[in-house]
Symmetry: C2
Subunit: 356 residues, 2 copies
Amino acid sequence: MLKPGDTIGILGGGQLARMMALAAAPLGLKCHIFAPEGDNPAFDVAAAHTVAGYEDAAALKAFAAAVSVVTYEFENVPATTADILSAQVPVLPAPRALAITQDRWTEKSFIRDLGLAVPDFVAVSSVEELEAALVRLGRPSVLKTRRLGYDGKGQAIIRDDVTAQAAWDAIGRAPAILEAFVPFEREVSVVAARSLSRDVVAYDVCENRHAHHILAETVLPAAISAKTEQAAKDAARQIAEALDYVGVFAVEFFVAGFGDQEALSVNEIAPRVHNSGHWTLGGAETSQFEQHIRAVAGWPLGSVKRLGRISMENLIGDDVMRWPELLAEPGLVVEIYGKREARPGRKMGHFTRVIR
Amino acid sequence: MLKPGDTIGILGGGQLARMMALAAAPLGLKCHIFAPEGDNPAFDVAAAHTVAGYEDAAALKAFAAAVSVVTYEFENVPATTADILSAQVPVLPAPRALAITQDRWTEKSFIRDLGLAVPDFVAVSSVEELEAALVRLGRPSVLKTRRLGYDGKGQAIIRDDVTAQAAWDAIGRAPAILEAFVPFEREVSVVAARSLSRDVVAYDVCENRHAHHILAETVLPAAISAKTEQAAKDAARQIAEALDYVGVFAVEFFVAGFGDQEALSVNEIAPRVHNSGHWTLGGAETSQFEQHIRAVAGWPLGSVKRLGRISMENLIGDDVMRWPELLAEPGLVVEIYGKREARPGRKMGHFTRVIR
């Protein structure tokens, strides 16, 4: 268990690390950020930082020696990085969550083995296997690389007008899965946390709207039944317990049907604070960032009470130029990430309306 | 007017600077802290810092060149420091507020000249003048140094059992004022802000309880009439306008009598964020720290809406050891300042209960 004055190490220097560091400070904890060369806005709010590659063993060892626990802002932490750090200092969430969620086949198998619904899927490692999988799952279906996909990258929908070869080329001929296409009505997610003492809390389910494969807007409450809301939270708890997870995580679901026919299937697990939880900053009694810090510090979790009806919107690329108008709106919770350059598709900030 | 990515310079590295820096980051602003050698917890959350004395002209010039505006966490910024900085970069609040509030005689004269009630006072620069003043104001009365007093330092109550000489010695024979003793029922304060575009907002009036001359607890709403509440806010606005003030400030009042007899007199003005405004962090839609940053950045002020009934308590010295119990209380807003050593009388943190 950490105490005020101790230091949390964070892998990654982007907005998620930055918001974690901003949440750690009021709890009296310092942060040390480890990230490669680049635009690392988390450096501006942390007590210390190391600029080095995730494969730099000497730098990792020095970093581990300087902190009391290591956590991370992204799920693609290399296994060797986690191993080097784990040998010296606790890494939370534990590397097993990384190993499972870094590979879509492993992740979906893990979820299915828990008895939770997932869209049907088949592993594919050649165009011949893809042809066979298409016969089994039909068209449309979705081809996804097993590793390193996010925000729609490494994915291709295979409709009637696409050949298996074209899809296989489109994702770079990497080991993949073919997934049944879910004609889902909407996407929801649960952000939840589990503590070292095994308490689990889940924030209310939020509904997500994407644009160009990037989260654009999150609203709460989600337009789902109380039964579905509870099922989503129960699934999150089951996943956390099966992983012996410590920290904040998100589970994304597809929702098909309405009313009694409403059915969830798990899309993916993110073993970290998540964009669909940004509304908790100002919209819940404890933000997901503070919650994560509490969990990895070995502290009790905070209240997940929601403070009103919520709408959170991302500021993508030039959207951030809206800042004068947003800052002038009374009561709006505005967060600007401090990135140097507003490239298209880049998450530059977000804002949350809380209707009390 | 600043824009996201710009840097605010802050004189002082303590908890107020730290909470300002933590409020600046979500707005996309960087902070550069300037403070002498010492325990400077603000360094841990700022993009840059300079360790130098407030009289170090070269260091001040380099600091001014690195920032877009300078503000401060304490009112005793030396006039020469403010002059050096002002020659290069805007200093907000403007140094005139410092000049007036650094000297109790100037401050009280300024307030009286505005037509606001202040306890009767007389300037005193020798034991003979003190004897004469005691004849005029009677006993008990309060001797206070004109400069550098805070948290009860540089003050002596002169009752029947104290000689003028003993009191004069007790405050170090420094230029002083003798002030009529106010048998006040309670102390309240208003935290308010004025923007570059001359808007003024005032948070609700809070009631303050002190222990050993240090603020112990702040509660809202204050047990005063609506008329008195409005009078306090009006006084704050009048002071801000007379100073052409930009930023957050606090006005402390004594309240005597009840009901129709309720009467305010101004105790002092603090030209900075103030301990009695800490409740706004989690207890109002915009914290006083964010409000101050908005004001000195030239941005619109935020909503001062209070989110419930409030109780804020300071953690003084070893009180901070209560952190495990406080972190376990659902919904409590806890702020630990990250200071290295919990000396007696030292403000180490605070916490706020918000009853929604």
